[in-house]
Amino acid sequence: MQKRAFLIGTTAILIVIGLLPVISMLVKSVFQNGHFTLSAYHGLLGSARQWVLIKHSFTLAALVTAFTTVIGVPLGILLGKTDFPLRKLFLFLFVIPLLLPPYVTAVSWFDLLGREGLLAPLLGSTLTQHIGRWLFGLPGCTFVLFSVFLPIPVILTVAFLHTINPRLEEAARSAAGWGRVLKEITLPLIFPAILLSALLVFLLTFGEFGVPNYLRYAVYPVESFTRFSAFYNFKAATAAAMPMAAITLLALIFESAFLREGTYQLQPLPEGAQRMKIHLYRFRSGVVISTTLLLLMIVIVPLLSLIIKSGGFAVYLQAINKAGESLIRSVSYAAIGATLLSILGFFSGYLIRIRAFKFWRSLDSLTLFLFALPGTVIGIGLIRLWNTPRTNFIYATPLIILLGYLAKYTALTSRISVTQLAHIPSSMEEAAQMTGASWLRRMIFIIAPLAKRGLMAAWLVGYIFSLRDTSITMLVYPAGHDTLPVRIFTLMANGSPELIAALCVILIAATLVPATLISLLPLFKRQEVWL
């Protein structure tokens, strides 16, 4: 009874928070003066140009997905499974580009490599010109978005590596070297992680507007965005966002085709099991050098350029002065948002994991659809739905921002929970059932503690994405309650570049500090076996 109520409640919350605003936009887009009409959709995908845009978006998304997966998965294995020195530090540093709105990263690259950029005197004018041509267009977009989204496969790989039953690797290692074991045992076992990260990166890149717009690569989201920004035409903008739904569906079908039922069933990890680690021996120095080079290239250099541009202590004081309040708000909203996201994601993941209802697949697809949809559409939908005198207690307060986070990012925490729950043997819950304990008691006292690593991971991911959100927050934040990324954007118009750079550095710090604190908690101590 309790179980049913909770799971139906979870579904209802997701529908009300996420689906309803979007449906209300959809419905409004097909009605003009009370008549049903598809005029807003007319001309959508009609022109050849729009197909070109879709092709561009696809190409960009495919390239970024390919590069991040091919480099991110081995990097994850390196940082999660070998004796690479200072693993945690490297992991943190690689995550940094994900913490900023991608547009900001693109701008910092221009500041570095542009004709009057920081590196221009070093590189000379002809080289700078060549770089300029490369920076603006597909190569530049691919590079910037690659650096922004690389953390996703890395983090997911590291997380899933923790879930492999060491017995399986041990058995293989007694017969073959690590190369073969990785290729034939380890990688197939973490295949769901690889697929999931590819799916997320693809959706995020496909929906990315700011970077390609700045770097002059014409992509499809421009269509929806322009119809909002330039013409204030909500109907047309909604219509233009709908192909995103089709793309998400396609991606999901693609994913499930690869994930044949049962083949990649995640195994519960025997308690106290010790993970296997790889010694790098003679490869060590080569690997460390190349990884450090990669880190320098995509993280350190732009980060340093930000820090250098921000100038001295005085600028940071000024930054705190101008944006201190929005920083505090950002951190609190993100923290509360992450907590709510973890809880909602936990129950949603449970529902999907145990296939409680026939529509479990639709619930998973719903969360991913909302993730893929442009934040603008969700934002306007939220305004339309919640901006009424009766619901003012939600709309005129930061609660509306939290609703936005819940709508857009539950897919992440839900999928993480599904994976984590797969590691808990069903006998754990069944043993609790046999003692007569109610479902809620079992969830709170048995399942949740056993799932705590996954819950922490979900919290961190929810925190990062909530903190860096701009598209939804921009539209719904109550007057006087702006967040730090929003303020960075508003101050960018004629604000001093030093101030903006300082604010970006502060934003990065605001994200890394909780992550560091959490990782230091004893939750994450595990014994490791060297072989």
Partner: protein, 342 residues
């Protein structure tokens, strides 16, 4: 202790969520407030609003805008919130938006006492919007360019083929100016101008600010931008200068973009809204904005301003009717979209 963790955690969550909600709705009754959505750059508008708050004790809650190409902003909010307005005042950075709001029935008429001395070309006759502190659409030119362009027709000059940039004509003041040209020249000539821009390989940036940065960085020789973008780069010490275009007899004059203040229809706090509007339209505010980095031109006569600044009376102004321009802007949308290749 362990046992109470879930209870503690859940009460913490509920408390913080309620606290967020309560903190906002509480206290609204005791302190006077006004909510303003601002399209003028935060860097310039925030000090003015802070002054108002200090002077009157009325708490100002602001929503600031971003450059159009970065994200959707305050206009969309205003329009989406039509049925339950949250904003009291809208501080538009150009009158076209104010006109759009009038056409969509989102603004209310209010003739401020401070509007009296503002020239009629820069305000709505019924008081649906009133202009103040204007920008001029100017050419920002890199100092290394020897013979500087002095008209927007420089964009068509083969001398500058591939060397000029313009902000995306779908957004902001660029759209307004192009719509103004359409009303001035008529559709045929204006369309020909646009097509010629393409032929002369004029680059398109995402915003005026970006155009200014490109010119300052030497990537392009000149661009049509707002005067505040130009002055801002000059004061940062960048190698640029500004030129007021088309000032000679027989030329069309410079497109002037005043700020426009709008009273929102159904504003939750109409009394404080009117006070804020009066404050914004005052000569003192115009003086502050003239001395600020945005260097905006006062529309009241005799306002104190920096000596190097040209008063509005000394500039040849492009003669257009903003209401017509707003209508034209909507009309030419499909053309602009296809011009941009969308």
């Amino acid at each position: 202790m362990r046992k109470y963790m879930p209870l503690l955690l859940s009460s913490l969550i509920v408390a913080s969520v309620l606290g967020l909600s309560g903190a906002c709705t509480r206290g609204q009754k005791t302190v006077k407030t006004v909510t303003v959505y601002v399209s003028e750059d935060q860097v310039f508008s925030e000090p003015i609003l802070k002054d108002f708050q200090k002077q009157t004790g009325i708490k100002v809650k602001a929503v600031y805008d971003t450059e159009e190409a970065k994200s959707t902003g305050t206009m969309n909010r205003l329009i989406a919130e039509k049925n339950n307005p949250q904003a009291d005042v809208y501080w538009a950075n150009e009158p076209i938006r104010a006109e759009v709001l009038k056409q969509k029935g989102i603004s209310a008429a209010y003739v401020s006492p401070n509007a009296k001395d503002i020239p009629s070309a820069f305000k709505d006759p019924q008081g649906y919007w009133t202009g103040f502190s204007a920008r001029a659409r100017v050419l920002i030119v890199n100092t290394k360019v020897k013979q500087k362009p002095n008209s927007i027709s420089a964009y068509l000059d083969p001398r500058w083929k591939g060397k000029a940039v313009m902000a995306n004509p779908l957004f902001g003041t660029t759209t307004s100016e192009i719509a103004a040209l359409f009303t001035l020249w008529g559709d045929q000539q204006a369309k020909a101008f646009m097509m010629a821009l393409k032929k002369n390989k004029v680059a398109v940036s995402t915003s005026n600010g970006e155009s200014a940065d490109f010119v300052a960085a030497g990537q392009y020789d000149f661009s049509l931008v707002d005067s505040d973008d130009g002055v801002n780069r000059m004061r940062q010490g960048k190698p640029v200068t500004i030129v007021y275009p088309d000032q000679q007899p027989g030329q069309i004059g410079c497109f002037i973009v005043p700020n426009a203040v709008v009273l929102v229809k159904g504003a939750p706090h109409p009394q404080t809204a009117k006070k804020l509007i009066d404050f914004l339209l005052s000569p003192q505010t115009e003086s502050k904005l003239a001395f600020a980095d945005c260097a905006q031109i006062p529309l009241h006569a005799g306002v104190k301003m920096p000596p190097e600044m040209k008063p509005i009376s000394a500039i040849k102004v492009m003669k257009v009717n903003y209401a017509e321009v707003a209508k034209k802007m909507i009309e030419i949308q499909p053309f602009l979209k296809s011009w941009m290749g969308l």
